[in-house]
């Protein structure tokens, strides 16, 4: 049995996340994203590899979307409405509510502003979203009788989820994007300790380790404050959802505290509309935000106003949130064109910009001029502030998650090739987990867990579940000094060695059955054959027995002699074998199955071999034990042979 993971997108890159995983005969597509950096067919995953014959509905059992970012959901309407996938699609409630806003916004930018050919229409988006089944966190969704999926909180944006998928005994987690530290409005990712064969994780910040969030937030606020204090305009290009709310909460709070009245604007109705969704989806935000809800909705921002296009060139300082993020086009680009040439203005960019966007160009080096297309060039004189906080986990977070889940295999996606290679090395060396970082269109196959079903007899189940206490003596530090007794006493150690031991029987073509070993003879209708051992040898004593012969016939005296011999033996053995539990039964001493008794007959058949020391009046020790305890028995016997059991008579 194996799990196959075909990476259609986000393999050694960021953008168009899409992985088709075959697990236990079921095929799941995780995410269906688009690449923001490309305008040609490279923007979509190469779906044809998922189903060469074009029958996507037959080839896939379901699609799972982790969150509403376009690089995770952007290709979905194209895939369902144009490519014709008709099967089930799963996403969380917030993702289902907010993804259409993102898609529609993107479509408008592409078609109305850039004048591109339409990839999908507004109707396509609506029709596509109708097919989506919304799921709640931790809800176990039975896709069909075998395939089970479950969403876990991922923290990255509202509604972001990691998805667990299980078929039979094989299971995997696909993380999507996640954040291991809570931010202002979202909690940290949360997942159960699961038995996983495979973990597919993002690795955007595969090598970055971030310091405290507080200093980073402060840096941002200082930069913004400095700019507006100098009369400058701050452009914050963000997507309508997620970062916008996070930064807005931060700014709104700061404005309140510092008593600032510089206007904060939202570029379009979109963000206002988005805030309305946020209010209804407050259960998906952080605990702290939820708690404040009854008194005041934290998404009612006090200092935030709507922005109008005519205000772009109006004088005076302001802060503007404009969509889309990364300045990939649309309104944020329009504002950027106007504001970039002035050095008092400030543009803040997120920690990550997809290659090919203006944001990416601004971040790589300090360009003074940016070629928009072959006719337009923008002078860039404004300040650039790079936001170093991002709702993605850092390298430590990824390592923490991998360590916590301890999957059998890890696949890295959604990151940059060199950084991924370094993280891969770290996971393999530090955690000892095989790790892969496939490129796009590569397939990784890993083995999966499998259980064999069997039935079991009650006796077997009972014997393996019932406690199996083992007592052994240990020399401990428990001093009994209070009584002045300096002798080190062994104390009893109790262990519960619950080992399931049984016999597996397969009769003909019937299912395997596990039985207790005591049941086997009955099952086979044959009697058990036991192998026992016996050995009788003289006790070694330097003091010759002065006792006259006739004493042997005196039962009373004899038994007292025997007893004292055994007592002496017991005493010596307890000193030698402190770990063993040596039991005294009067007539004999018992260690595990070994019985040691004083031989009562002269003609003991087990007195094999020569006993040079034996003579008249020698006492013989007769030992018997069962197969299995041979090692112990022989060890004890050889010890006894060296002991001087001279009787203090």
């Amino acid at each position: 049995m194996a799990i196959d993971c075909l990476v259609l997108g986000a393999g050694q890159e960021v953008g168009k996340s899409c992985a088709v995983v075959t697990i236990g005969g079921k095929r799941i597509m995780f995410d269906c994203g688009m690449h923001m950096g490309y305008l040609d067919r490279r923007r979509y995953p190469d779906f044809s590899r998922a189903a060469p014959d074009g029958d996507f509905t037959g080839a896939l059992d379901c699609i799972v979307i982790t969150h509403f970012h376009l690089d995770h959901v952007g290709a979905l309407p194209y895939f369902t409405e144009v490519c014709g996938y008709r099967g089930p699609i799963y996403m969380t409630f917030p993702t289902k509510a907010l993804a259409p806003l993102m898609l529609e916004d993107y479509r408008k930018v592409m078609v109305e502003r850039r004048g591109e050919e339409e990839q999908f229409t507004a109707e396509h988006i609506a029709a596509c979203m109708k097919k989506v089944i919304a799921v709640d966190l931790k809800q176990t969704v039975q896709v069909d009788s075998e395939l089970q999926i479950r969403a876990y909180y991922a923290g990255h944006v509202i509604g972001a989820a990691m998805f667990y998928a299980k078929v039979g005994d094989s299971a995997l987690v696909y993380t999507g994007d996640y954040n291991m530290t809570p931010d202002r409005h979202l909690g940290a990712a949360q997942i159960d300790r699961l038995h996983l064969d495979l973990l597919i994780t993002e690795s955007t910040y595969a090598t970055t380790v971030r310091d405290s969030k507080y200093t980073r937030e402060r840096e941002f606020l200082m930069a913004v404050h400095k700019c507006v204090a100098g009369g400058g305009k701050v452009l914050i290009p963000t997507f309508a959802l997620g970062r916008a709310q996070e930064l807005c909460m931060l700014l709104d709070d700061y404005w309140e505290r510092m008593n600032l009245n510089v206007p904060i604007y939202f570029s379009a109705g979109l963000t206002i509309q988005a805030n309305m969704y946020y209010k209804m989806l407050i259960n998906w935000t952080s605990q702290k935000v939820k708690e404040t809800y009854v008194t005041r909705n934290p998404f009612d921002f006090k200092n935030v106003r709507n922005f109008d296009r005519s205000m772009i060139n109006s004088p005076g300082p302001c802060v503007l949130f404009a969509t889309p993020g990364m300045i990939s086009g649309g309104f944020s680009l329009e504002v950027f064109k106007n504001w970039a040439p002035s050095e008092i203005n400030l543009v803040t960019l997120p920690g990550y910009c997809v290659a090919g966007t203006i944001g990416h160009k601004l971040m790589s080096g300090k360009p003074t001029k940016i070629d928009l297309d072959k006719d337009t060039q923008i002078d860039v004189r404004c300040q650039i502030h790079q936001l170093s906080f991002s709702p993605h986990t850092d390298a430590k977070g990824i390592m923490d998650l991998v360590k916590f889940l301890s999957p059998k295999h890890v696949i890295l996606v959604h990151g940059e090739k060199p950084k991924m290679a370094s993280l891969k090395g770290k996971i393999e060396s530090e955690l000892g987990i095989p790790c892969y970082d496939p490129a796009n269109n590569e397939n990784v196959s890993v083995p999966s867990t499998h259980f064999v079903k069997a039935c079991a007899s009650d006796a077997f189940v009972r014997s393996s579940l019932s406690p199996n206490f083992k007592f052994s003596r240990r020399i401990g530090e428990y001093g009994f000094s209070h009584s002045g007794d300096t002798e080190v006493r062994p104390y009893l150690q109790v262990r519960d060695e619950r080992v399931a031991e049984g016999i597996v029987v397969i009769e003909g073509n019937k299912a395997a059955k596990v039985i207790h070993q005591d049941e086997l003879p009955n099952f086979l209708r044959k009697e058990r054959h036991e192998v026992k051992f016996a050995y009788c040898f003289p006790a070694h004593s330097t003091k010759k027995n002065e006792e006259p012969d006739h004493n042997f016939t005196d039962g009373l005296q004899c038994s007292s002699r025997q007893c004292s011999l055994l007592r002496a033996l017991l005493c010596e053995l307890s000193k030698e074998f402190r770990q063993e539990e040596i039991q005294d039964f009067g007539e004999y001493i018992k260690v595990e199955s070994l019985h040691v008794a004083v031989c009562s007959t002269d003609q003991c058949p087990y007195r094999v071999g020569d006993h040079p020391l034996s003579g008249r009046g020698s006492m013989f020790l007769c030992c018997s034990w069962l197969a299995g305890d041979e090692q112990l028995a022989w060890k004890l016997i050889s010890t006894i042979k060296t002991l001087d059991l001279g009787l203090p008579l």
């Binding site: 809800q139 039975q142 309305m276 259980f451 579940l465 397969i506 003909g508 054959h529 192998v531």
Partner: protein, 697 residues
């Protein structure tokens, strides 16, 4: 598996209560309170004349002396049924009496299937030794907490009126007092057989609620919780109320489906997900609602029995056919129009209904109705928790019906009350005496407020105010005895119109059988009286078992053998031995038996058993002496066989004496072989030879 029904409850507000025993674990399902029993108490102020009320309060002190002499005469003098007969004391609350027969510390798991099902939980959870895990859906926990807090805050009024109560049992619990109660009240307090007196408890405190709520294990719908690795518990939406659920309980040997009162097409909560209950081994049917209807209206005869031959899809169509839900809708519309008519005529409307679903839908309906008839009166919701409750209902799209979920996706609020609140047509206040309410108060108006028992909360005050006004309307639920409930409100002067309505609170009778057919369990456990009437004894694919209150019903064993899963890793390490004569393959198995996810799994044990290394093989059969001799000589061990009857008592042994390489002796019997050698190595080699010849593993 064993089932004991502790109480069949009483409708929506007092759900049934059961104790299950599964895999040796005790599972309590629901822990409700019978709030209808509050009817036995007088609301405050207890009488219209304050003087009379005080006199009454004094009486118990006087009586304590004279009761012994006068008790004989007093015993049979039952007080007449009037407002004075009601108990004038800080009320106690009636829990499930039978639950007190069980030691709380022996309960392992508590499942709460609706907000109403957790009202008694603080009593249980503060009991000494209680350590069970309590599972409840997130939404039910929230609503239940609000209901309990509201109850405590309404009860506070009694505390203030009667003062702090001494710890001992209250005066009304004295036997003479109980004896003198009118029979109807006596039945409320004692039950028919008198045991129910043990179920009365003084109310918990806000701190108790806090403690209780802190310890709850909150679940989402269809979230699987695993108890002790052995039992998987999963709540499934039942449609009765937001957060209300049915349960599947999976243990290694089977699956139990527990059906509480459920609604197929509810107007507010997420629909009854019956598909998740398919092919359970046992279905415990605990929806008594249709039974209540059966008893009161005796509709038993005129329902359409679905043909047994009808296909499953037909049956499902029957299930999802929403006639009872559209009936509900009509009911709500009717109530709304009555309410609007009343306010138009200048009267006020009091709606003391405790069902969140009904309140939310009535708010929507009434506002629509008022708009269409251009009638503008304020709607007040008065309750200490109303603000939080109304806010909460709008942030839980995951818990509401599909139709309302669509509202989220189109960016509209889930319930219309959000818009009403914004428009100030709906006003929410914590209590009747809130200064803001007094400021905005105007009549006529429509008031939603607790409590439906008409003994607690704002409803008491408003009813006092309006009961004489024939233009006003009381919208009230069926279920309580109206004679007793309205006693404190001067029945002679009661001119207020009363609209009594009953709402759907479970699966309607005609759907019960189709449901069971669709779910196809192996066994169905039905309430006794219920089952006999409905389940015709036709051959079914399932067996029907009947349960009755306080009797333990034992389920026959589902499976002969226990199921087990063994890791493939371990299987691949096994050395199989074929026994040709019996067509058997056999091997020894050693691992760790782990209970995980309600399955028995055998995993490779990573820790080496510290004491012993390898277990000796298990051998059977009789030793073939000729083969043994041959084998031994191959190994260079020589010996001679000796027929010898050795004294052992049990069986004759044959002796094999070994003389090379050194002396040894074998005693061979039919079921055992004894090896005696002075040399460890030789003994070991002989054993090896014996093992090789015998069958074994």
């Amino acid at each position: 598996m064993k089932l004991t029904c502790l109480s069949r409850g009483k409708g929506f507000y007092f759900p049934p209560c059961h104790m299950l025993s599964v895999c040796g674990f005790r599972i309590l399902i629901d822990c409700p309170l019978d709030l209808s029993a509050l009817a036995a108490f007088a609301p405050i102020p207890p009488g219209f004349s304050a003087v009379r009320g005080e006199e009454d309060l004094e009486r118990p002190v006087d009586e304590s002396d004279g009761c012994e002499s006068g008790s004989a005469e007093r015993k049979n003098t039952e007080k007449p049924m009037n407002a004075e007969a009601l108990i004038r004391s800080e009320p106690w609350y009636k829990t499930v009496a039978n639950l007190h027969l069980w030691n709380p510390s022996f309960i392992d798991v508590v499942l709460i299937s609706s907000p109403a099902g957790m009202l008694g939980l603080p009593f249980l959870m503060r009991a000494k030794g209680f350590s069970a895990k309590v599972y409840v859906t997130e939404a039910a926990a929230k609503l239940g907490k609000l209901m309990m807090e509201d109850l405590v805050s309404m009860h506070e009024e009694f505390r203030q009126f009667y003062g702090t109560q001494e710890f001992s049992s209250p005066h009304w619990m004295k036997w003479e007092k109980l004896e003198s109660l009118p029979s109807a009240l006596k039945e409320i307090v004692l039950g028919t057989d008198g045991i129910e007196l043990g179920g009365w408890m003084p109310l918990y405190s806000a701190a108790d609620i806090e403690d209780c709520v802190k310890k709850l294990q909150r679940l989402k719908y269809a979230e699987v919780a695993c108890y002790n690795g052995t039992i998987n518990i999963k709540p499934i939406s039942s449609g009765l109320e937001i957060g209300a659920c049915n349960w599947t309980i999976r243990y290694p040997d089977g699956t139990i489906g527990f059906v509480s009162s459920s609604e197929f097409v509810p107007g507010h909560a997420l629909e009854f997900n019956y598909n998740a209950l398919r092919s359970c081994d046992v279905l415990i049917y605990s929806d008594f609602s249709s039974l209540d209807v059966l008893e009161t209206a005796n509709k038993g005869s005129n329902y359409a029995v679905p043909e047994d031959s009808s296909t499953l899809s037909d049956l499902e169509e029957v299930l999802l056919h929403a006639d009872e839900s559209s009936e509900e809708m009509d009911k709500l519309k009717f109530i709304s129009s009555c309410a609007v008519d009343a306010v138009k005529a200048g009267g006020s409307v009091l709606i003391p209904i405790g069902r969140l679903g009904i309140i939310l839908q009535l708010l929507e309906q009434i506002s629509v109705c008022m708009e269409s008839s251009r009638c503008e009166v304020p709607i007040f919701v008065i309750s200490s928790v109303a603000e939080e409750l109304l806010a909460y209902t709008n942030i839980i799209p995951e818990w509401v019906c599909k139709q309302r979920q669509e509202k989220l996706f189109s960016g509209e609020p889930l319930f219309a009350h959000v818009e009403l609140l914004n428009g100030e047509r709906l006003q929410v206040y914590p209590a009747v005496y809130s200064p803001k309410l007094l400021l905005h108060w105007q009549e006529p108006c429509i008031v939603f407020c607790p409590h439906w028992s008409l003994r607690l909360g704002p409803a008491v005050h408003l009813l006092r105010r309006w009961h004489g006004d024939e233009k006003s309307l009381l919208v009230w639920e069926e279920g309580m005895d109206s004679d007793i409930a309205l006693l404190p409100f001067d029945p002679k002067e009661m001119k207020m119109k009363v609209l009594r309505c009953s709402f759907l609170s479970g699966i309607v009778l005609k759907k019960v059988r189709p449901l069971i057919h669709v779910l196809q369990p192996k066994f169905v456990m039905l309430p006794e009286d219920f089952g006999r009437q409905i389940m015709s004894p036709v051959a079914n694919s399932y067996s029907v078992l009947h349960y009755s209150v306080n009797e333990t019903l034992k389920l026959p064993i589902l499976k002969e053998d226990s199921e087990l899963e063994i890791t493939a890793d371990l299987i691949s390490q096994l050395h199989w031995k074929n026994l040709k004569d019996q067509n058997l393959s056999i091997t020894r198995l050693k691992g760790n038996l782990v209970m995980s996810d309600a399955r028995r799994q055998i995993l490779t044990s990573d820790e080496l058993s510290c004491s012993k290394s390898e277990k000796p093989p298990l051998l059977w059969g009789t030793l073939d002496l000729q083969r043994l001799l041959a084998r031994l000589s191959e190994m260079g061990i020589g010996g001679s066989l000796q027929e010898d009857s050795v004294t052992d008592g049990s069986s004759d042994a044959r002796i094999l004496r070994i003389n090379a390489p050194s002396e040894a002796l074998l005693e061979i019997r039919s079921t055992s072989t004894l090896i005696s050698a002075a040399n460890e190595e030789l003994a070991f080699r002989i054993r090896d030879a014996v093992d090789g010849i015998l069958d074994g593993t």
